[in-house]
């Protein structure tokens, strides 16, 4: 038996109270705790849950491993991350997803929940063995070809229908491939001036419009990954009003940065979907504040230096973000009445619900003791060189933030203490998340 008492934490930024943890779960109270932590001045949130993380293992362990990605997650306040399927080999079989989940337990810094590919090899030709992945020890519920769009409308319809078998959800990377051939950045005034082939908003919006209609037709759950345009927000709002079972996600970078940054031709700003205009940034901020957009997903996408230290057109697309997500979101949403309860909803409770993770997303007694304590009045600057991720492609370098991740508890184990990594959870020694 182990127990912890966290004293004087402002729960969701509200009243101060004590939080008890017994044997990896939140408890009503604890009599004689093994450890007592004074959280005066700190805000307590349920451990963050990321639905969109590229951990790169298996295949690109030079860019990130499950261990380093999990450590990065823990330092960012995340207790669960969903590993995207575009690894090498692709996570399109029960074997690969079980391996990824196993690597997550062996690391012991965050629960790693694999996402399965929709199509074999993400090639967009035929459905992968979705049932086998769902029934595997990894219990996959979210399926995505992220990085690629399931562009074939017939295949998308079938996938949406098929995952109803196990209450699954298809997470779509909405990008019409024909409208974005060779695309390098948002199509707009800046791309026209810079002479870079454009990625028009309509290439995202037309796929989302099609998919919400398909989801409505077959009564399935659809999750829209990293939506980035004002038009996408409008379409999702319209679909929700019609009762379509759609959820939507936005990244910290699409809440914060615009295509004006591409004028530097610095590949740290190269990402897919691309950085959009200020009008789009304003629209996704409003959409997140009013609930049209359900969640923040990081789309943490580490790349090795040689894939970023190049000319723009040769550089890889993607940005890291696990360790800067919460601070950046709070800065981006500062003018939208977005409080700690909103952060808990969009970055923990709602993503946990979409994924069906009962032990995450809540501070209620009886659920998994997944918790993050943050200092809401810090004076910090984003310093990518000090981050645990192997990826140095963080576009927020130098941005001042007032949120600091202090402690992260993973099923009762304090894996981050005062911003620094401590030892892993007992799963790293062969145990279970909760014994």
């Amino acid at each position: 038996m182990s127990s912890t008492l966290i004293r004087h934490a402002r729960v969701l930024g509200g009243e101060e109270r004590d939080i008890a943890i017994v044997d990896g779960r939140f408890a009503e109270s604890v009599e004689r705790p093994d450890e007592t932590i004074d959280a005066t001045g700190l805000v307590a949130l349920p451990g963050l849950v990321d639905l969109h993380t590229h951990l790169r293992e298996p295949g690109r362990e030079d860019a990130e491993t499950v261990l380093t990605g999990s450590q990065s997650a823990a330092r960012g306040g995340y207790t669960a991350v969903h590993a995207m399927a575009n690894t090498q080999p692709v996570a399109d079989t029960a074997g690969v997803v079980e391996q990824v989940a196993h690597l997550g337990r062996a690391a012991g810094y965050a629960q790693v929940v694999p996402i399965g590919a929709v199509t074999t090899g993400q090639a967009g030709q035929q459905l992968a063995e979705l049932g086998a992945m769902a029934a595997s020890a990894a219990r996959v519920r979210i399926f995505s070809d992220d990085g690629q769009c399931v562009a074939d409308p017939m295949l998308m319809r079938r996938a949406l229908e098929y995952v109803k078998t196990f209450d699954g959800v298809v997470a779509q990377h909405a990008q019409d491939p024909r409208l974005t051939e060779g695309a390098q950045m948002n199509e707009g005034l800046v791309s026209a001036e810079l002479g870079l082939p454009g990625w028009p908003a309509v290439a995202e919006e037309s796929i989302i419009a099609r998919d919400v209609l398909l989801a409505e037709h077959v009564g399935s759950r659809l999750h829209v990954c990293h939506l980035s345009t004002a038009g996408s927000v409008e379409i999702v709002r319209w679909a929700k009003e019609r009762g379509v079972r759609v959820t939507a996600e936005v990244t910290p970078h699409h809440l914060m940065l615009t295509d004006e940054l591409v004028r530097s031709y610095d590949p740290v700003y190269k990402v897919n979907p691309p950085l959009r205009t200020q009008a789009d940034v304003d629209a996704v901020r409003r959409g997140l504040a009013d609930g049209t957009i359900d969640i923040v997903g990081t789309d943490h996408a580490p790349h090795t230096a040689e894939h970023k230290c190049s000319e723009w057109t040769a550089a890889a697309m993607g940005m890291v973000g696990l360790e800067s997500a919460l601070p950046i979101v709070m800065e981006a949403m500062a003018d939208y009445g977005f409080g700690w309860a909103d952060a808990a909803r969009t970055m923990s409770a709602r993503p946990a619900q979409i994924s069906g993770l009962a032990e995450h997303g809540s501070l209620e007694p009886g659920t998994g003791a997944n918790l993050v304590l943050v200092d809401p009045a810090a004076h910090e600057v984003i310093r990518p060189a000090e981050h645990a991720t192997l990826g140095r492609n963080n576009p927020f370098a130098g941005i001042p933030v007032s949120t600091r991740i202090v402690d992260t508890f993973l099923f009762g184990t304090r894996v981050v203490a005062d911003g620094e990594l401590r030892g892993p959870h007992a799963t790293a020694r062969g145990g279970q998340w909760i014994e």
Binding site: G188, L189, D266, C309, T313
Partner: protein, 329 residues
């Protein structure tokens, strides 16, 4: 004084006029029996070409040699990734070899800007054409040629008198016709022509115009004949159109393109007598431009090529010596 020449958007009117005036001086050198100035003796200019362009490379090579610089041609065709050596390694290698200036041609937009900003090499970077972004020396040589023509001077050859010197292109009516979307020449020309006071008309099918072109400092026409009726053009610049564009449905086929946006025999005859005909080359005769127009007396196409050397001498001189005053004395 400018540190790099990456985009004509970075050139103010004063900078542009100074470079054109220096080029006038350089045109004298090219007419001498001994076509050399000793001003860059002992300096090394590297032509770093990631894309084949014999014409442009030779022009830069001749320019550097006439200024007595040592020239190293570095051909690195293909993307840096497929070749296995990164742009960073290439740049650092050139820096270690002591390159004093690097002339860069690259298929990717922004590669010269990246070289100038990344800190891999400290030498001035001269953009010799990057992707579908810019080609600043082409715009400068176009402006040089047009300035000569507007002053009633021979469009190329050694400077005759001072009439062009110090002048801009104020009030000139210039049409740029064709594939503006993919044209680095068009982008550089729009900035520079505006800086020098010219009025620019862009004439192209909507598929070959950049998104948001109506916010550009230029008038836009989809209809070539309507544009010819609206303005008394001092120059019509025809852009090269790649045949492959028709396979990407930018236009139905070459015949229709020629009918609607080509400088055909009929349109050529309609042009006022003073309208100069320009083309950055290489031309597709019979496609975007008819033979009579290409070979006309008022076609300045070969003058453009000749002036390219003087303008590139001026650009190298500007970047490597800090200003153009020495040559003008």
């Amino acid at each position: 004084m400018i540190r790099h020449l990456l985009s004509t958007a970075d050139l103010g009117r004063e900078d542009a006029v100074r470079i054109l005036d220096t080029a006038e001086e350089m045109s004298q050198v090219s007419a001498r029996e001994v076509k050399k100035l000793p001003v860059l003796r002992g300096r090394t200019v590297v032509n770093l070409f990631f894309e084949d362009s014999t014409r442009t490379r030779i022009s830069f090579e001749a320019a550097a040699k006439r200024l007595s610089a040592d020239v190293i041609n570095f051909s690195a065709k293909g993307s840096s990734v497929s070749k296995g050596e990164s742009l960073q390694d290439t740049a650092q290698t050139l820096a270690a070899m002591g390159a004093d200036a690097v002339v860069v041609r690259h298929p990717g937009s922004g590669a010269p800007a990246r070289l100038a900003a990344a800190g891999w090499i400290g030498a001035p970077i001269l953009n010799a054409g990057d992707g579908t972004h810019e080609h600043p020396t082409q715009a400068l040589l176009d402006a040089f040629t047009l300035r000569r023509a507007l002053a009633g001077l021979p469009a190329s050859g050694p400077a005759e008198g001072d009439r062009a010197r110090g002048a801009g292109l104020d009030g000139a009516q210039v049409a740029i016709v064709g594939d503006v979307l993919h044209s680095r020449v068009a982008r550089s020309n729009v900035h520079l022509l505006r800086a020098l006071g010219a009025h620019v008309s862009l004439i192209a099918p909507p598929t070959l115009l950049p998104w948001g072109v109506h916010t550009w400092p230029a008038e836009v026409f989809y209809d070539f004949d309507e544009a010819l009726a609206a303005h008394d053009f001092d120059a019509v610049m025809m852009l090269r159109v790649q045949f492959e564009r028709m396979h990407q449905s930018f236009f139905p086929n070459t015949r229709e393109y020629t009918r609607l946006w080509g400088l055909t025999e009929q349109r050529y005859r309609r042009l006022p007598a003073h309208t100069a005909i320009m083309h950055p080359g290489p031309m597709n005769r019979g496609f975007e431009i008819c033979a009579s127009a290409a070979d006309a007396e008022r076609a300045l196409i070969l003058d453009q090529v000749e002036n390219g050397v003087s303008v590139r001498m001026a650009a190298l001189y500007e970047l490597l010596t800090g200003d153009g005053t020495e040559a003008q004395q």
